[in-house]
């Protein structure tokens, strides 16, 4: 019995439980499977189709992605002759890891009395934002290593977009920090017990959300891998399981950012359910995720220069407004 206890203790220790089980790897896997299925089903419903069906027919084809992954698993990994092979293979894996890093400092409520945060620091917001900006670099490297013109152009687009969404993203996140007077996400969430940030500073929420949409290449900003001229952007040369990985990266990024969004703007795990506050959190996360994938069936995509203009003209302005607003509110309260 001692061994079982020991294993349980290790598993339930936040620094293991968080990255591995919730909100980490296993949850992500489940959520991605559900999310991609939901995305396809939602699109199908709107487009008067049926969507995935024949894998697990009884449940509406919910395991379709698993079947696809299985197929990827057994496909041959093709690396083109002139590509930089080591970087070509390594960068998707590193990108995947880098995407998951911010989870270490993003709190996810508590489950059965365990605080779900792997690493509590008083600058966790900064740490999360900094870690989250690692992924695009590897996406750029992927396109570069592929030695393909389309991939290269996709990478360049990612680079262009990156500078235009990251500034408003950070500024609007910082305006929340100013509002709550703390850079610790746990403090920020605890501060929202009575009223959510989105109600106090909707501009920050708006520009943060649009920046997230842009950074995870959801529609209408699916520009990096825009298939009608770039085939699949930076991912053009990837095949089999590597392709599975690179396709998963934007979804994981979306999940991480949504977690952050809910923590910052939608009151995190409040209203509390005793002992299971994570459930509130995950429900909010799912709703936001669903909305972001729903946008695919509403929008075409913007042109690159238009997206950059939106980033600098609208979102940047909005995030400056939101900082001013936060400062004004703080000044007024004081």
């Amino acid at each position: 019995m001692e061994i079982v206890d020991l294993i349980l203790n290790i598993l339930l220790h936040p620094s293991i439980f968080v990255p591995l089980i919730f909100p980490g790897f296993i949850t992500i896997l489940i959520i991605i499977i559900l999310l991609i299925w939901a995305e396809r089903k939602v699109a199908a419903k709107i487009q008067m189709r049926i969507g995935p069906l024949y894998v697990t027919r009884r449940f509406g084809g919910i395991l379709q992605l698993l079947a696809d992954l299985l197929r990827y698993m057994f496909a041959e990994v093709i690396t083109s002759k002139d590509s930089d092979k080591f970087i070509f293979i390594a960068s998707p894996i590193v990108a995947l890891t880098a995407t998951l890093l911010p989870l270490a400092v993003i709190p996810a409520g508590s489950l059965l009395g365990i605080e779900l945060i792997a690493l509590r620091t008083n600058i966790s917001l900064l740490a999360a934002l900094a870690l989250s900006s690692l992924t695009p670099i590897f996406i750029i490297i992927m396109g570069w290593a592929s030695n393909n013109k389309f991939a290269l152009m996709g990478s360049l687009r990612e680079g262009h977009l990156m500078i235009s969404y990251e500034v408003p993203l950070y500024l609007s996140a910082l305006s929340v920090a100013i509002l709550h007077g703390s850079l610790d996400i746990v403090d920020i969430v605890n501060n929202q017990q009575r009223v959510w940030t989105v109600l106090i500073n909707p501009f920050a929420a708006f520009s943060f959300f649009i920046s997230v949409i842009m950074s995870t290449s959801r529609f209408p900003f699916e520009i990096t891998e825009s298939d009608s001229e770039l085939v699949a952007g930076p991912y053009t040369e990837y095949s089999s399981i590597l392709y599975g990985l690179v396709m998963g990266v934007p979804y994981m990024r979306l999940y991480v950012f949504t977690l952050l969004f809910v923590d910052l703007f939608l009151g995190g795990w409040y209203p509390l359910i005793d002992g299971f506050s994570s459930i509130t959190l995950i429900i909010k996360v799912l709703i936001i995720l669903l909305f972001s994938v729903f946008l695919r069936s509403v929008y075409p995509r913007y042109r690159l220069d238009q997206a950059i203009r939106i980033g600098w003209h609208i979102l940047f302005t909005l995030s400056l407004i939101s900082i001013t607003l936060s400062l004004l509110i703080i000044g007024w309260v004081m």
Binding site: V42, K45, I46, M48, R49, I50, L53, F294, S297, V298
Partner: protein, 164 residues
């Protein structure tokens, strides 16, 4: 400028709302689950052919008009009636289902069937010799749960499928 922004915002909201409307309104779908639901095609649908060898006068017009060269005439003796004549054979590898042969046949020996699923396991089966042409095409339902449906045009939903 302000008006343009408000106008844009209004249209964004409208687009999202129409998406939500279709997401939430029940039962609008145009897809036919083909092997599971087999459509009953309208009468006079130009499908595969069937030959009535008793009516055929061996005139050969069908093979002369066929734009795809899918019809050959073959000497054929019917097993039971011992009737002999030169009757058409159809090669569905070539046939484009134009229906010219049926329309030109002076004695109405060639008939339309409403079957269009010209898919076979063996390539040679695509060639319909006279005796098979007399029997006409038969398809086994491709799936165990196949059922027949009738499609109807609907003002609200475009097309609805009713069970037949």
């Amino acid at each position: 400028m302000i008006i343009k922004i408000i106008n844009n915002f209004y249209h964004h909201i409208r687009a999202i709302l129409i998406g939500l409307k279709y997401l939430l309104s029940p039962g609008i779908r145009i897809t036919l689950k083909y092997p599971d639901e087999l459509p009953i095609l309208p009468e006079n649908y130009r499908g595969m052919l069937k030959l009535n060898n008793e009516l055929c006068i061996s005139c050969g017009l069908c093979s002369q008009i066929c734009p795809a060269g899918a019809i050959n005439l073959k000497l054929f003796e019917h097993e039971q009636t011992k009737q002999v004549g030169r009757h058409p054979e159809v090669d569905y590898k070539r046939c484009i289902f134009c229906g010219f042969c049926i329309d030109i046949c002076p004695s109405k020996a060639l008939e339309l069937t409403r079957i269009h699923d010209a898919a076979f396991y063996v390539e040679d089966e695509l060639y319909y010799e006279v005796n098979r042409l007399i029997i006409g095409p038969k398809i086994d339902p491709p799936c165990m749960r196949s059922k027949y449906v009738i499609s109807e045009i609907d003002e609200v939903r475009g097309i609805v499928y009713r069970n037949a």
